[in-house]
């Protein structure tokens, strides 16, 4: 339990990290460092995107699976680590 906390805190304190969100399979944010509305938006949208990405990867090669998803918009980078039940989302500002 404490390790989970520690891990999340460590992630949050890395350079450039703006926010961390843990979402479950139904799209409910379990743990977040951002405000509620933003969290819900990220959670909903990224969940769909991750599902789509995963199904694409599996369609191309059924043995394959999605391990990590990185989206690089102009402003920040969104990193999604998917799992069967949960989703870990981190928003980072890559240092130039």
């Amino acid at each position: 339990m404490a390790e989970v906390e520690e891990t999340l805190k460590r992630i949050q304190t890395h350079k450039g990290v703006i926010g961390t969100i843990v979402v479950n399979a139904e799209g409910i944010p379990i743990r977040t460092t951002l405000d509620n509305s933003t969290t819900v938006q990220y959670a909903g949208l990224l969940h769909q995107l991750t599902m789509k990405a995963r199904s694409t990867v599996r369609d191309l090669d059924p043995q394959n699976d999605l391990t990590f998803l990185r989206i690089r918009p102009k402003k920040h980078e969104i990193m999604v680590a998917p799992d069967k039940e949960y989703l870990l989302i981190v928003i980072q500002n890559p240092s130039e």
Binding site: M1, E3, V4, T7, L8, R10, I11, H14, K15, G16, V17, V22, N24, E26, G27, I28, I30, R31, V40, Q41, A43, G44, L45, T67, F68, R70, R72, E77, M79, A81, D83, E85, Y86, L88, V90, Q92, P94, S95, E96
Partner: protein, 576 residues
């Protein structure tokens, strides 16, 4: 052969119920086979009869009702909460969350995902993987492709009686529309059924014009207002100017009055750059250049008569066929191309009408159909007339600095490319479009393309230099796209073009100076030799004097010849 059985029935027996009776069969008609008829037929042996032993099927088509589908996104607000948890209640949500966090599975998942994530975060922090490396070395692609042009769309005159597409104008923003003016320039060639309409075409739709403009008489020229893309001004065959607002419909918003308009067809109309954006000026073969403010079309704001003697005499005036105004260069100087082959350069802001005409350039043998300054080098301009196209420099008035060879067909229109300083386009009466690149080849066009079988009358390049439209005698406007090599600025092009123009200008200057010297020498020599004769004082002779002198010279020559012959005769006689 009809077999008819006739029976009669009494009138009062009609409608009576039928009384059927039975009786044995009676033979009414018996047609026996007649072997003599067999001679009319030929027996066919063998007979081919196809038989198929399959199921008989029939084909039907069915079209289901069109199912309309639409893609929409949904904004996820808040959801996924199980039924017993009310998302609005803070306590319940917190309690739910805490429950989830205690889950064993959650624990292991987070640890694993966390390590993955950390790896990536550290990666990001270490190096920017999307940085632009090798930015300075731009790969210069020198595409060695053949210059080419391809037809994209053809817009045909929808009327039965075809008219010539005499003028084209691109829409000022985005160039997705093309306005085409149709008229018939042949003398008295207008039939009463000819429609007067001109059209605005949308480039994507060649089947039907987007909008029709209905003038009072055929439009010879048409121009979009570069400031306001809804306004067009047109000059018509009967000399009137009209302007349209595309928002207001097909009829002209206002027309100039006949008394104050031109007396001949208006060949060119150009918008001026003014604060109000409503000034235009027009030129016509009656020798006048008129300035108009479209808000008040009842009479022109200014008038200029193209009299080469600068006296404002309309009878002497040169008929104007083309106009040129480059507002980026000097907005008050403009040039007029005339029917007589002269280019007249004028200054609008001159005080007296005499000073308005600054100078003339001669060198062409026929009417100057196109006149345009080079957008990159405003001191040089292109004229298209008779069988050649010539490039002039403003400073040299006696002849052009560069010219093309004499072609087989008359050149009818031309213009510079707006993106490349050394490229220009011309169209000919045999239906070909020529693309000239003077830096590449000067004797022949770089690309010569036969657009259609009939003569091409007008040409207009779009502002991006990529598309051009040409109009033909039967009213078809063809939209062509030229290859990127001809519309992208090459590396040293501007410098090379500058050098070339300067070189040619210098050469012409030297030639002009030489000619002047020679002429002066001639004049001084003739002055010295014929000082006793009062005829050649300044080298100007009237026609009669010239005639008498020639006559006298002729008789002298004849007499000398006669004397020579007489002498020879004498010699012969003496010898014998």
């Amino acid at each position: 052969m009809e077999i008819v059985h006739v029976y009669t029935k009494k009138r009062n027996e009609f409608g009576r119920q039928c009384n059927f009776s039975d009786r044995p069969a009676e033979l009414h008609v018996d047609i026996l086979p007649d072997p003599s008829l067999a001679s009319n037929f030929i027996e066919r042996d063998p007979c081919d009869i196809p038989i198929q032993c399959t199921q008989e099927m029939s084909e039907h088509e069915v079209n289901t009702e069109r199912f309309e589908s639409d893609t929409r996104g949904i904004n996820h607000v808040e959801g996924g909460w199980p039924k017993d948890v009310n998302p609005q209640e803070m306590e319940q949500t917190i309690r739910f969350r805490k429950k989830v966090e205690k889950d064993e599975h959650y624990f292991s998942t987070i640890m694993q995902l966390g390590s993955n994530m950390e790896h990536c975060i550290k990666q990001n922090n270490a190096i920017n993987i999307y940085q632009e490396y090798f930015e300075e070395e731009e790969v210069v692609e020198e595409s060695e492709e053949q210059p080419s042009a391809k037809t994209i769309n053809v817009f045909r005159d929808p009327n039965e009686i075809k008219r010539t597409a005499t003028c084209l104008s691109w829409h000022p923003d985005g160039s997705c529309k093309l306005a085409v003016a149709y008229s018939s320039l042949g003398f008295q060639n207008i039939s009463p059924d000819m429609s007067y309409d001109s059209y605005i075409w949308d480039i994507e739709n060649p089947n039907k014009p987007e909008m029709t403009l209905k003038p009072v008489s055929l439009l010879v020229c048409l121009e979009y207002n570069p400031k306001d893309s809804h306004i067009l001004v047109g000059g018509s065959y009967n000399g009137q100017i009209a302007y349209w607002d595309t928002r207001k419909g097909s009829q002209p918003v206002e027309m100039s009055t006949i008394e104050h308009s031109h007396r001949d067809p208006v060949y060119k109309v150009i918008w001026l750059q003014s604060k109000t954006g409503t000034d235009t000026f027009s030129a016509s073969t009656d020798g006048q250049v008129l300035w108009w403010d479209i808000r008040k079309m009842s009479e022109p704001t200014e008038r200029l008569v193209l009299d080469p003697n600068k006296k404002g005499n309309l009878d002497n005036a040169l008929g104007a066929i083309s106009l040129e105004l480059d507002y980026h260069f000097v907005p008050t100087k403009f040039m007029v191309g005339t029917e007589q082959g002269l280019v007249v350069s004028c200054n609008r802001k001159a005080k007296t009408p005499a000073e308005k005409i600054v100078c003339t350039y001669s060198g062409h043998h026929g009417p100057i159909y196109a006149l345009q300054r080079n957008p990159f080098f405003p001191k040089n301009f292109l004229t298209v007339a008779d069988w050649t196209a010539r490039i002039w420099s403003e400073d040299i008035k006696e002849s052009s600095i560069m010219w093309t060879k004499y072609h087989m067909a008359y050149l009818s229109d031309g213009c510079w490319s707006p993106v490349r300083p050394s490229v220009f386009f011309t169209v000919k009466m045999d239906g070909t479009l020529d693309v000239w690149d003077f830096l590449f080849k000067q004797n022949d066009p770089t690309l010569s393309l036969k657009v259609c079988d009939e003569a091409l009358y007008s040409l207009r390049v779009q502002d991006n230099g990529r598309f051009l439209a040409c109009g033909s005698q039967l009213g078809t406007a063809t939209l062509l796209e030229i290859s990127p090599g001809l519309c992208t600025l090459q590396r040293n092009e501007k410098a090379l073009a500058t050098a070339m123009f300067e070189r040619e200008t210098k050469r012409e200057k030297i030639l002009e100076a030489r000619h002047r010297e020679m002429r002066l020498k001639e004049r001084s020599r003739s002055e010295q030799s014929k000082d006793e004769d009062t005829k050649e004082g300044d080298g100007e002779e009237s026609v009669e004097e010239l005639a008498t002198r020639t006559e006298a010279e002729f008789y002298e020559i004849v007499e000398a010849e006669l004397k020579k012959r007489a002498k020879e005769q004498e010699k012969k006689v003496r010898r014998d």
